[in-house]
């Protein structure tokens, strides 16, 4: 069996994975990058709007403290505040460093990186390239990896001496030596042959779980691999009940349902209307945001040119608010013909400007839906987009509770609390990708001995099983039923009865998945790959549903019809999932969040905190303010 030895193995080659790998290599570690797809194809390319970083290029009033506040508000104060702090402080450096590696962002008049408005961000903050920022980011990081390889070729005669990409390779198990990580086991998609990595440190950067839902903006890769690998290796997941439904996905034609329509459409002036032509978002501004959003269309429109004297339009509320509003309008019978609402930019900007600012949206609608967005409105509706929950990690290092295991990007949990702001994902993966790379390198440096090579007999048997079952169940059917179940029963609006029902279905599907078979050879066999991925999707779906059932309040990406109010008591609690090494016995436990550091909580007004905190916490706040 093919076997490699590395210092750091990074699983996932999106933004977080590449940034982690670059850092580990820069720290002198022998680094492997493992990706399910070809190098440079990861889901990060789908990110459109930009990377949030308080550089203050467009509005000089912006700084890390404003960004920190916006992030905490967006997450309804459930965020890991240390992560939010590090993120807000370090994002500008991470964006600037990309320029040194060849990125070409759009510019301001004085030649700096331009920044655009986005939901929940007080100032124009998103560094961007038209509406293809994710592509720019992934290409820049990809080219940085290549540059490092060229350096290694000059120095060591081998471009892959210190950093190597294993493309179209899927990891199915993390390996351990006692309690600590010892490597990873997987297979080559191309040949079906197995491959083993012996390494003391593994960084998970596998992204999200969207493929457990039917309507999703996520690609096939988003099967919750990292979430599942972590739990199976003994790590813990937090905040799994919080899933972001992006308010604007395409709704028609059916085959593209769920594909993302960037928030930049609204950031650049687009408005949402119902079938009666009403800009309904004015009816949905929640109390906690009342004083920050315009109350009339006139004020909202003036804001685009004069932000000092007007409040922002409610189309730019955080994503959870907009998604729920659209859902309510459609349910009330005021939806568009194909079951969404109207998103119109055609009456707001000249055609040439739309094509310049939103080229890929223009292209996407024209090619896939026969809609010219410069002439007519789009139809849009909520789509499963991002999971706030993930591996519980230390903020500063990305270390999980299992020694040697690290996580960064969407697969990690905490940074975004109950809801992520648009633009905070690209910056998150740069900031915490780098930190996880550093954390993993420091961990390796601190080891007295390397872990001994693990036995892979069980991992091998598990992976090959679907191929050995003749006449087993069709994995595509099991997958489809899971997607329908999660979509219908643990979707944007949830109820105890429906979640319990979903858990029963998941239980049955787990049994059925153990009988899925795939015909054909081991060479590039998608049916076999899906049968293997099902284990991860089912495990992660169970975690989502169990946590969702326990959290009896509504907050961010978790809305309970039977508990519609946000509760200050619940804000202090995190739900922590764990499971046995075979994936059975998923348990969810409550854990109390540590209180925010005094200097950070003092950044907020008391009147705002009263909406979120308990009386005891407010007393702590008063004490902190007094002290400062």
């Amino acid at each position: 069996m093919e076997r490699h030895e590395y210092d750091v193995v990074v699983i996932g080659a999106g933004g977080a994975g590449l940034r982690a790998a670059i850092e580990a290599r820069q720290q002198g570690k022998r680094t492997a990058i493992i990706c399910k797809s070809l190098f440079g194809k990861a889901h990060t390319v789908m990110a459109e709007g930009g990377a949030a970083a308080a550089m203050g290029n467009v509005n000089s009033d912006d700084n890390w403290m404003v960004h920190f506040r916006d992030t905490m508000r967006g997450g309804k104060f459930l965020n890991n505040w240390r992560m939010a702090e590090l993120h807000a402080k370090e994002a500008p450096d991470r964006v600037w460093e990309l320029e040194e590696w060849g990125a070409l962002f759009d510019r301001t008049k004085d030649g700096k990186i331009s920044q655009r408005n986005f939901g929940g961000h007080e100032y124009p903050r998103l560094a961007h390239v038209g509406d293809r920022t994710g592509l720019e980011l992934i290409r820049t990081l990809q080219q940085r990896v290549v540059a490092l390889q060229q350096e290694d070729e000059r120095e060591h005669g081998d471009p892959e001496a210190f950093i190597k990409v294993f493309a179209e390779c899927t990891i199915t198990r993390l390996l351990k030596d006692g309690d600590a990580i010892a490597g990873a086991f997987g297979y080559w998609r191309e040949t079906g042959d197995f491959i083993v990595f012996d390494a003391p440190a593994v960084v998970l950067a596998t992204g999200g779980i969207g493929k457990s839902y039917v309507v999703t903006s996520n690609s096939w890769e988003y099967t919750g691999d990292g979430h599942a690998l972590a739990v199976l290796a003994g790590a813990k997941l937090i905040n799994m009940e919080f899933i972001q439904f992006h308010p604007t996905g395409m709704v028609w034609p059916p085959s593209v349902r769920g594909i993302l329509v960037t928030e930049s459409v609204r950031g650049d002036g687009g408005v949402l209307r119902n079938s009666e032509g009403r800009r309904f978002m004015f009816d949905y501004v929640p109390d906690v945001f009342k004083d920050k959003y315009a109350t009339t269309e006139e004020e909202g429109d003036r804001w685009y040119t004069d932000q000092a004297n007007n409040r922002r339009p409610p189309e730019l509320l955080p994503r959870d608010e907009v998604a729920r509003a659209i859902n309510s309008e459609v349910k009330a019978g005021r939806g568009s013909p194909q079951g969404g609402v109207f998103l119109d930019v055609s009456s707001r900007l000249p055609a040439a400007e739309i094509i310049k600012r939103l080229p890929s949206m223009h292209h996407q609608f024209k090619e896939l839906a026969d809609v010219d967005i410069t002439q007519e409105p789009m139809q849009v509706g909520p789509t499963c987009h991002y999971i706030m929950g993930g591996v519980e990690v230390e903020a500063d290092t990305g270390a999980a509770s299992v020694p040697g295991l690290f996580a960064a990007g969407e697969v990690s949990g905490g940074m975004h609390g109950s809801n992520r702001l648009g633009g905070n994902s690209l910056s998150d993966l740069l900031v915490f990708g780098r930190r996880a790379g550093l954390g993993a390198s420091a961990y390796v440096d601190g080891l007295a001995t390397r872990p001994s090579a693990a036995d892979v007999t069980d991992a091998k048997a598990e992976a090959v099983a679907p191929l050995e079952r003749t006449g087993g169940e069709n994995p595509y059917e099991v997958h489809h039923e899971l997607q329908r179940t999660m979509n219908d029963l643990v979707g944007i609006i949830r109820k105890a009865g429906e979640i319990s029902e979903a858990l029963q279905v998941v239980e049955k599907l787990k049994e059925r998945s153990k009988n899925t078979g795939s015909s054909g050879s081991r060479v590039y066999n998608p049916g076999w790959h899906l049968a293997i991925d099902l284990r991860n999707m089912l495990l992660v779906s169970e975690c989502v549903a169990r946590a969702a059932l326990l959290r009896e309040e509504s907050r961010g990406g978790h809305t309970r019809d039977d508990f519609p109010v946000m509760s200050a008591d619940w804000r202090q609690k995190l739900l922590v999932c764990s499971a046995a090494p075979d994936g059975s016995g998923v348990t969810v436990e409550e854990k109390v969040q540590p209180s925010m550091r005094g200097d950070l909580i003092s950044l907020f007004e008391r009147s705002e905190l009263e909406k979120y905190l308990t009386e005891d916490e407010l007393a702590e706040y008063d004490a902190a303010v007094k002290e400062s």
């Binding site: 797809s37 070809l38 190098f39 440079g40 194809k41 990861a42 889901h43 390319v45 789908m46 550089m55 500008p92 450096d93 600037w96 040194e100 590696w101 060849g102 759009d106 510019r107 004085d110 030649g111 700096k112 390239v129 038209g130 592509l135 720019e136 080219q143 290549v146 540059a147 390889q149 060229q150 471009p159 191309e190 690609s219 096939w220 028609w252 034609p253 059916p254 085959s255 593209v256 594909i259 890929s360 292209h363 996407q364 090619e367 896939l368 839906a369 069709n474 994995p475 595509y476 489809h480 795939s518 015909s519 054909g520 050879s521 060479v523 590039y524 066999n525 998608p526 049916g527 076999w528």
Partner: protein, 251 residues
């Protein structure tokens, strides 16, 4: 709404294979990739195809549809007659791994042969100042989603494996142009474009531009200007002398 379409799909692995006929359901608004996925889910679970975003942004599902290089996810079924047989084959220029999946490692090899972005050492992160108009030329080329259809269609290598070692293909000649036009790049890339990466092989038939799903004007905006820069440098003694005397400031 739906109808049964006739598909002829190339199937095989290990250098052997054949076209196989299928009849498969098609629904309103679907693209070729949807139909391939339905074949997978209902008839041939091990049918190999690459895909990721299904929105024309990642460049994974390159294939040849009725002989033309296309992205499966951006090819609407409504562009065909319902009675038409649709033939789907893998890209021809690269070795087939299985069914519609090719070994595209040629492209990654070439990417590594192009010297990386080389900025001046004294400009610190955060100090870069560039005008929009100066970054737009390179930005056009950075729209590239690396579907590799330009390299697939290019006649220099499409039926001429022997040219592969000496020719980077439109994708990576465009990458050289992108870096050459970057306001901060300090490397002189003209000679190597010609001598090492095979710019001279290109005789501007524009096939690459025609198949580019991002509508990048590869020939007009990257390859021809690059050829002109090479010629200027090669034959104009003043330009040659100037390039020796005045160092590019980079700004």
């Amino acid at each position: 709404m739906g109808y049964k379409a006739k598909f002829r799909v190339w199937r095989g692995e290990g250098g052997e294979g054949q076209l196989e006929d299928f009849t498969v359901e098609v629904n309103e608004g679907e693209v070729v990739l949807d139909v391939i996925h339905r074949l997978q889910a209902t008839q041939v679970p091990d049918l190999a195809v690459r895909w990721n975003c299904k929105a024309g942004k990642c460049g994974s599902c390159s294939m040849e549809i009725n002989g033309r290089p296309r992205l499966g996810c951006m090819t609407r079924m409504s562009t065909f007659e319902e009675t038409e047989t649709i033939t789907v084959t893998p890209m021809r220029t690269f070795p087939v791994i299985k069914d519609l999946v090719c070994d595209v490692s040629f492209n990654y090899q070439k990417a590594r042969e192009i010297p990386s972005f080389t900025p001046p050492k004294d400009v610190k992160p955060g100090e870069y100042r560039m005008q929009q108009i100066d970054v737009e030329r390179s930005q056009e080329f950075r729209k590239c989603i690396e579907c590799f259809m330009c390299n697939n269609v290019c006649h220099v290598i499409r039926d001429h494996d022997e040219n592969k070692p000496a020719f980077a293909g439109p994708r990576f000649l465009m990458r050289i142009a992108e870096l050459d036009m970057h306001p901060y790049d300090e490397l002189d890339r003209k000679e190597s474009a010609q001598e090492e990466h095979g710019l001279g092989y290109c005789n501007i038939t524009k096939c690459c531009t025609e198949v580019c799903p991002e509508h990048i004007k590869i020939t007009d905006n990257a390859l021809i200007p690059m050829k002109e820069r090479v010629v200027d440098r090669k034959y104009d003694p003043l330009v040659w002398l100037g390039s020796k005397i005045f160092k590019r400031s980079g700004v």
